[in-house]
């Protein structure tokens, strides 16, 4: 008796599984027509920062936070400006109060008085996501919630991010953080919503001095591409092999 019942159950279960399992469930990865597209894509967004032009007003940070709805009074920010003061004795002082949202108005650095006569050189360095060619933050996402577009911009899918923070740990530049409202990983999007409409990023528009520029690196006539090709530029922390696509004019060895 038991034997037959067991056999029956077995058949039922097997049948149920076979019918319940849609073919699509086994379709593990869908390569699609994807690969071909990257070669034909003629856009690769890149960034150019001229550290000589930056005066540390912080309008870029303000514009970024308001444009991209990053809570204004939170210390986290998608872009920020750093101040470096190198003294004649070689010592480096640096700070970025509130990411320089309100600009640099105090001569004190790291809450220290600095005698102007001791200063050898001082400058400001705007920072934002480098939209790396090999983004380590994307590599480590366990669920495919962050990704790189064909045009090089790295985005986060807020509806899929589980909030493990691995990408935050993996970025050598500290550009990622948890959004205070959505609690998902948050980062600079190069204002992709503006770029696709033919506009500049909010920070580029907000900069009065032209210290920030965004351009298409695949277009040899783009002014940004021209500068990168013809002038001496550097990237941040190249030793990590991330191939950053934000280029800096006048990058000092003290810049972190």
């Amino acid at each position: 008796m038991r034997q037959t019942r067991r056999e029956f159950l077995k058949t039922i279960t097997r049948g149920a599984i076979a019918t319940a399992l849609p073919i699509g469930a086994f379709k593990f990865l869908s390569p699609r027509e994807a690969r071909a597209a990257v070669a034909s894509s003629n856009v690769r967004w890149g960034f150019l920062v001229d550290t000589y032009k930056c005066v540390g007003c912080g309008f870029c940070v303000k514009a970024c936070k308001l444009e991209n709805e990053v809570p204004y009074d939170a210390p986290v920010t998608r872009t920020w400006v750093e101040r470096y003061v190198i003294l004649k004795n070689g010592r480096m002082l640096a700070d970025t109060p509130m990411g320089a949202r309100d600009g640099f108005t105090d001569p004190k650095v790291q809450e220290q008085e600095v005698n102007p006569r001791d200063i050898a050189k001082a400058f400001f360095v705007p920072k934002l996501c480098n939209q790396c060619e090999n983004p380590p933050c994307v590599q480590v996402c366990p669920v495919g919630a962050t990704y790189q577009r064909a045009d090089g911009v790295v985005l986060v899918d807020r509806s899929w991010c589980i909030g493990c923070g691995y990408c935050i740990m993996a970025c050598p530049y500290g550009v990622r953080f948890f959004h205070p409202i959505y609690h998902t990983a948050e980062k600079c999007t190069f204002c992709i919503h503006r770029l696709v409409k033919g506009m500049n990023t909010a920070c580029v528009d907000a900069c009065p001095f032209g210290a920030r520029k965004v351009g298409n690196l695949k277009d040899p006539n783009d002014p940004v591409t021209q500068v990168i090709l013809n002038q001496r530029v550097a990237v941040l922390k190249p030793e990590y092999g991330t191939k950053p696509q934000a280029f800096y004019i006048g990058l000092d060895e003290n810049v972190r």
Binding site: I119, Y147, V196
Partner: protein, 156 residues
């Protein structure tokens, strides 16, 4: 299936089957590998469009100039022509529908972003006319004496 040894394997297969079924219903259909390959391009394609549809808030000077030609002209003829209207007045968004009024920010903190003097010889900052906010008429609004739209012409 004479031997009982493979029984747990069936249990395991059922569990895997359940996960696959759940996966079929939970994962969006456009989730897959796109342009940048599996390492960098594994995502839900429609998310790109969602980000592209994000609301633009900063509209730049071209948005302001038609309705406020006087302010625009006077500003464009001054040294402050490099500054966006929205840097001080806030993002236009869909002004005048939303918001109907933009802020008129008279705070000193706005001006000293550039005009607080910092003694940095190698930076452009030192070349901007600067003051020491603690010494220079503390407590007064800058606009009492300076016209922010056209600062070359002192006073109003």
């Amino acid at each position: 299936m004479k031997s009982h040894v493979l029984r747990p394997l069936w249990v395991v297969l059922v569990v895997i089957g359940l996960i696959l079924v759940a996966r079929y219903f939970v994962v969006p259909p456009d989730f897959g590998i796109y342009e940048r390959g599996f390492m960098y391009g594994f995502h839900r394609k429609s998310n790109e469009k969602e980000w592209e549809a994000f609301k633009v808030k900063y509209r730049t000077k071209t948005y302001c100039k038609d309705c406020h030609p006087d302010k625009y002209e006077s500003n464009m003829s001054s040294k402050h022509h490099v500054i966006q209207c929205e840097n001080c007045h806030g993002p236009a968004i869909d002004h005048p529908e939303n918001p109907p009024k933009l802020t008129i920010n008279r705070k000193r903190s706005l001006c000293i972003r550039c005009h607080a003097y910092l003694p940095y010889p190698t930076s452009q900052r030192a070349k901007i006319k600067g003051i020491d906010p603690k010494e220079h008429n503390p407590g007064m609004e800058c606009v009492t004496c300076h016209n922010p739209h056209k600062p070359d012409m002192e006073g109003w």
